[in-house]
C-alpha cells in the first residue's frame, strides 16, 4: 500500500525544508524525499560529526543552516532521506528507491526543491583528475574538513569562488592563485543595479570582508584571464592562461573551477513544466506564479531550482510555495505576516541578485569551448567540434544533437553537457540561446538498475 501525502517535497535544502515546515504548520500532511543521507541540501551539506575546526572555517551562514536543520528535524514531516526519486507521473505518483528498495507514494501536490548545480566549465583539460569544481572542493571542506595540501588554483568568478578562497584562508590552506575570468565590461551592465546591491548591507559587508582578508594574506589574484587550459598527462599538473597579453602557466595538481550556478531543472524539464530562458543567468527556469506554482496543476518549484536566488531567498520562496500548495489544495489558514515578510525580503534580495548576476555573468569563452577538440559531453566524450558538426548538419536542439553524436546519453543523462551543447548549437546556427529548445530529460531521473525497476511495487497495475 503506498502512502498518501497532501504535499510531497523533493529536496531537503533550505527551500525544501522551509516549505515542508511551513506546509506542516498550515495543517498539510507533508512528506519530504531527499537523496542525501542528511538534510541541508548542498549549501548546508553537513557532516555527521561536525568538528569545531570545520565550523570555524565555514563561518556564520553555515551556523544559520545548522539551526534550520534542527528545526526541520523537530517538525511533523514524513522525512525520507537517502531516497532517489526516479519517476513522477502527471497525477502525483512518485516512484523512488531507498537503499535499493522500491517505494511509491501518491501526493496531491508535488513541490520540487531540487536546488542548483554548478555551471559546467568546459575548458581544455577539464576532465583531467585534479580538475574539480569549487563547489566540490567546498563539499569536501564541509563534510570532512578537507583542504588542499598543495596551493590550489581557483579559476572563474562569482561569490562562491571568493567564499571558498576565504574559507581556505581561515583553515590555513595555501592558495596558488585566483584567476578571474569574469569580463571587466560586466561592470557596465551591472552598474544600474548597484543601488539594489548597496541596500543589502550585510551581503556587501561579507563580500568586502572576504576580499579584504584575501588581500591582507597576499593571495595572488589575476584579473582579465582568458583562454584557460588545464594541462597534464593523466592528471592535472598545471593551468595555463592568457592575461595582460601574455601566456602564463602555474604548476598545480588541483584546479578548482567555478562560473556560478544554474537551476537544477532536470526533473522540472522531465515533467514537461513550462520553462523560460533567463538570459542573465544563462539557463532555463520554470515559469511560475507568485506562489511558485507551475503551469501544470499539482506542481510547484521553490528555491534555486526556480531560478538562482541564493540560500537565504530559498527559505522565503519555500514559505511562499508551501502557501501556494496549501491554497491549491483548498486551504485558507494562511500565515499573512510570514508571507508579507517573505515578499519584502525577496524584493530586497532581487535588487542584489540583479547586480550579482550581471557582474559575474561568465565570459563566453568559459561557457562555449573555442577549440573543437575540447570535450563538451564528459560521459560520452563528445567534443565541441562534433557538436558543431551535428549543428551544421541540421541539429537545432539537443534531441537531434544527441541522436547524431550520443552527447547526453551517458550516466549523467545530459545534466552537465546540456548548457554547453545548447550554446554550441546556438553559436553554430546563429540562433539566440533561447531559441535552442531545452534538453528533454526522461525517467529514470537518475540511473536505476533493471533489477530495482522490475520491483513488484512499480509494475503496471492493469494486466
Amino acid at each position: 500500500m503506498s502512502a498518501q501525502w497532501d504535499l510531497a517535497v523533493i529536496g531537503a535544502g533550505p527551500a525544501g525544508m522551509t516549505a515542508a515546515m511551513t506546509a506542516a504548520r498550515l495543517g498539510l500532511k507533508v512528506g519530504l524525499l531527499d537523496e542525501q543521507p542528511r538534510p541541508g541540501g548542498q549549501i548546508y551539506r553537513n557532516p555527521a560529526q561536525p568538528t569545531p575546526e570545520v565550523l570555524e572555517a565555514l563561518g556564520e551562514d553555515y551556523a544559520h543552516g545548522m539551526k534550520l536543520i534542527e528545526r526541520f528535524r523537530a517538525a511533523d514531516i514524513d522525512y525520507r532521506p537517502g531516497a532517489t526519486v526516479w519517476d513522477v507521473t502527471a497525477d502525483g505518483e512518485i516512484a523512488f528507491l531507498r537503499d535499493g528498495v522500491a517505494g511509491e507514494i501518491r501526493a496531491r501536490h508535488v513541490l520540487l526543491a531540487t536546488g542548483a548545480i554548478e555551471r559546467p566549465v568546459p575548458v581544455p583539460g577539464w576532465t583531467l583528475p585534479g580538475a574539480m569544481t569549487v563547489g566540490a572542493a567546498q563539499i569536501l571542506l564541509k563534510t570532512g574538513g578537507y583542504v588542499p595540501d598543495h596551493p590550489a588554483v581557483l579559476v572563474g568568478g562569482g561569490p562562491l569562488l571568493y567564499l571558498v578562497a576565504w574559507q581556505y584562508l581561515k583553515a590555513g590552506a595555501q592558495i596558488g592563485a585566483i584567476l578571474e575570468t569574469v569580463p571587466r565590461s560586466n561592470l557596465w551592465s551591472a552598474l544600474p543595479h548597484a543601488p539594489g546591491m548597496l541596500r543589502q548591507g550585510r551581503l556587501l559587508a561579507k563580500g568586502r570582508r572576504w576580499l579584504r582578508d584575501l588581500r591582507a594574506a597576499r593571495v595572488r589574484r589575476i584579473r582579465g584571464v582568458t583562454d584557460v587550459r588545464i594541462e597534464g598527462d593523466g592528471a592535472a599538473e598545471a593551468v595555463s592562461f592568457q592575461a595582460r597579453g601574455r601566456r602564463q602557466t602555474i604548476q598545480t595538481p588541483l584546479v578548482l573551477l567555478h562560473e556560478g550556478v544554474i537551476p537544477n531543472t532536470h526533473v522540472s524539464l522531465a515533467l514537461g513544466l513550462e520553462h523560460g530562458w533567463n538570459d542573465v543567468q544563462q539557463w532555463w527556469q520554470p515559469r511560475l506564479d507568485e506562489w511558485g506554482r507551475a503551469d501544470k496543476t499539482g506542481f510547484s518549484v521553490a528555491g534555486d531550482g526556480a531560478g538562482i536566488w541564493g540560500a537565504e531567498a530559498a527559505e522565503h520562496l519555500g514559505l511562499l510555495a508551501a502557501h501556494g500548495a496549501a491554497m491549491a489544495l483548498g486551504g485558507d489558514s494562511l500565515d499573512q505576516t510570514g508571507v508579507a515578510e517573505a515578499r519584502t525580503a525577496l524584493n530586497a534580495a532581487a535588487g542584489a541578485r540583479a547586480f550579482l548576476d550581471r557582474f559575474y555573468r561568465p565570459a563566453r569563452s568559459q561557457r562555449v569551448p573555442a577549440a573543437d577538440d575540447t570535450i563538451a559531453c564528459r560521459c560520452e566524450e563528445v567534443t565541441a567540434g562534433q557538436v558543431r558538426h551535428a549543428a551544421r548538419l541540421g541539429a537545432l536542439g539537443l534531441t537531434q544533437a544527441k541522436a547524431y553524436t550520443r552527447c547526453g546519453m551517458g550516466p549523467c543523462q545530459g545534466r552537465l553537457c546540456a548548457p554547453t551543447v545548447s550554446a554550441l548549437i546556438a553559436e553554430t546556427r546563429g540562433l539566440d540561446d533561447a531559441d535552442v529548445p531545452a534538453y528533454r530529460p526522461r525517467p529514470p531521473f537518475k540511473p536505476v538498475t533493471l533489477g530495482a525497476l522490475a520491483a513488484p511495487a512499480f509494475r503496471a497495475k492493469a494486466g
Partner: protein, 373 residues
Amino acid sequence: MTDIRDRQADIIVVGGGLVGSAIAYGLTRHAPRVMLLDEGDRAFRATRGNFGLVWVQSKGDGAPHYTHWTRNSQERWTDFAAELKARTGVDTHHENDGGLTLCLSEAEFLDRRALMERHRRDAGNRGFEYKMLRLPELRELVPEAGDSVYGASFTPYDGCANPLFTLRAVHEGFDQLGGIYRPDHAVVAIEHKDGIFRLETRHGTYEAPRVVIAAGNMTPGLARQVGLEIPLNPQRGEILVTERIAPFMRLPTQNMRQTVEGSIIMGDSKEDVGFDTATDTGVISDIAARAVTAFPILRDVPVVRAWAALRVLSPDGLPIYAESQTCPGAFATICHSGVTLAAAHANELGGWLMGADRPEAIAKLGPERFHVS
C-alpha cells in the same frame, strides 16, 4: 532575402525521419534537385523509438508480399551500410549474424515454431531457414539466458544497425549528394495548382512538381490535402537504455540488443494511446522485469534513459505506399520498420516517385487494401 530557387525543387520529401530521409537519399540518383523538409528538434520522431533491428523473422505472417519486401531490404542492407560508410565515414554498425526471439514457455515455443513453418511455406523458392532452439542449445549462442527461458527461434537473416547513426549517415549522404535539407520546416499545408505543389512552412512556401509525404504520424493530415486517405493507428512503444557494459549479447533478440557502444536497449511494449510520448512507470517496470527474466545477469545494470516514441502503424501493421490519382505527382507512405526497410526505401522507390511504374514488390502495399468496396 532568399533566392526563389532556394524554394524550388524537382521533388520535395516531407519528413526527415528515417523513412523520409532514406527515400530522399535514394531520390538524389533520379532527380537533380531533391529537398527534404523536416520538423524541429522536438518532432514526434519514431526513429528515436526504433531500437535498430534489421529484422525478418516475424514480419508478414499471412502477408508473404510484405515478407518479400522486408527481405529485399535485408539483402540490400550490407551494401547500403558499406555505401553510407564509404560516402560519409559514418558507421551504421550494421550486423547480420542472425537473431533470436525468446520464448518463455513451451506454448510460446510451439506457437513460434508454427509461425516459422508458415514463413518457410510462404517463402516458396526463396527459401526460409530457421532453427528452433531449446534452452541448452540456446545457451550455446547466449550462455546468459535465464532458467525461465524455454527456448528461442533463430533465423540467419536478422541483424541490427544503430538507428541514430543510420539517420545521421543518411542525412550526411543526402547532403553530399547535393540534397537540400531544411530542419525546422514542418509542413503545415499543401496546395496543388497547375501541376505544382506548394508546401507551406513557418519559414515560407516551397514548390515542386512532385511531393512525397513521409511524415510519420503527421502523414494522414497532409496526405488528405493531396487526395490520399492513409489510415493510421499510432501506437506507443517504450524503450529503455542502460549504461555501457562490456559486450555480452552475441545476437540481438526481438526486444533486446546490445549496441556497439555497449548499451543494452530493450523495449517492445504495446499501448494504444494516441499521440502521447510520455513514459509510464508501470510499463518501464514491466520491460525491466522481462529483461531480467530473460537475462538475470542484467539485474544490476543501471538504466540511463527510458522514452516513448510513436510507432507509425497502419490498421494491418504493414507499410502503405500510396500514389495520388487526383493530384498526380503526390505520394505518401507510412511505415514502422524504418530501419529494416531503409535499404529498400533508398534503392527501390526513386524511379516510381519520379514517374516510372510502381515496383511489383509494393503492389499489394497500397492504401486500396483498406477500402471497403
